[in-house]
Amino acid sequence: MTILEAAAALRAKKVSSAELTDDSLKRIARANPELNAFITVIEDSARARASAMDAEFSQGVDCGPLHGIPFAHKDLIQTKGVLTTAGSKIFAGFVPDQDAVVATKLNDAGAVLVGKTGLHELAYGITSNNPHYGAIHNPWDLGRIPGGSSGGSAAAVAADLVPMATGTDTGGSIRIPASFCGIVGLKPTYERVSRHGVLPLSLTFDHVGPLARTVRDAAVSFHAMVENPSGYVPPPNVDIRGVRIGLPVNFYFDRIDIEVAGAVRTAIQTAAALGARIVEVRVPDMDALNVVGRVLQLAEAVAILRPHLDRRADFGADVLALLDQGRLIAASDYLDAQRLRRIFAGEFARLWTEVDCLFTPATPVHAPKIGQTTVQIGPDTEDVRLAATRLMRGINLLGVPALVFPCGFTKAGLPIGLQIVAGSGQEDLLLRVGAAMEDATGIGCKIPTKTGCTSRTAPPSPGA
């Protein structure tokens, strides 16, 4: 059941929050041994909270669409009295004494927290193959990664263990797992959702947002996370006639798996058939922006984690290698990277006079296998992390919002993600266009299995 379906059923008294939460907890108990999506499940407090939400309904209190809906937090979002590990040994015993702002917002919206989801260690990577808490598995193929760093959140939503989970995105960490797991991920405009109380990875480009199974569920979740939400939820038969969609003629379709490129180009044809105007555009040098982003990321992460570097043995090898590199970045190089970021932000802003949004592939490839360190794209071999972040990292530096949702499946039945990018503050446009595409393609809301992730539904044909 989606959030909006469950919300309607709750108000029609066809189901209670206690029943929804019990269903969620049962599915977690059944599937988590295979998926490893959760680090902590708070069964007793979730049941108590659900009963309290039912009592509020019976008293006429209605906090909105998330009231009584079970959900999960990525395990770097501080939750009062609930273990918050950041997927690390460093924070293995950390129990916060206060909630992050986003946790408070979702509490105020009446949502029912059922647990904390696993992630790549310290959110510093994209595989979610965690050396301390084990590998998280992709519900579409248990031998493959869910992506990361919000891998547990994506796996939990894709397997229908919860209808929504929070994520954070520093270089693609909401959007990569959304792409690999065939769900919806929204990276909002920078600082649109408060980062206060979220264990940081960067100081200037961490983002917080929702992962959900439909665009409309992502919309209501996003609105619950922000101050002064518009409340916009795309209506049925949402109209995108006249929307100017930018089709990049450079960068975004270079070194892309052929099935991914085919599905995204089919999606662009679908948008055109819905009345959108497709406009070919040249984007700024995104390869250069990725270089800038790597310099910034290396330096900012070590600025945060330096106090723990005397505990080398408590870091995974990949994270430690990144932190060691970050320690050696000169302050002048960091500042120059921030100056280059300003230049690129100005160049990119000019795009929004030509188009309303961009359509791009989300990731150049489908989900790699667990333990795979490189991917093959045509004749090129590329590091898994660099490939997965290649189409996304620059968007973090620009601070603009981006929405990822499934636009097809490979012949092997693995999801393919589409990314829509718009100017700052244009989340409602992304949700509008995304919902129109979701309605038109019928690809959203597929669930890989209902019985512990050992089988999957037959996917539609590629590009369908």
């Binding site: 600082e191 290396l298 290698a321 060691d324 320690r327 050696l328 190089d333 120059d336 100056r339």
Partner: protein, 50 residues
């Protein structure tokens, strides 16, 4: 180009030699891509702010 091994050897707390061998080529590649960009920055350019 920067001698990343020399800089890494001076780090405090220390970086083990085997780990230096792993990260030095990564930093060399990043530096090779970054320096030309750095040289292109107009002098009046301020750092990015949110």
């Amino acid at each position: 180009m920067t001698d990343w091994k020399k800089i890494a050897e001076a780090a405090d707390p220390p970086i083990p030699a085997a780990d230096i061998e792993k990260i030095a080529p990564l930093l060399e590649a990043l530096e090779a891509a970054f320096r030309p960009l750095q040289r292109s920055i107009p002098p009046e350019t301020d750092p990015w702010t949110a």
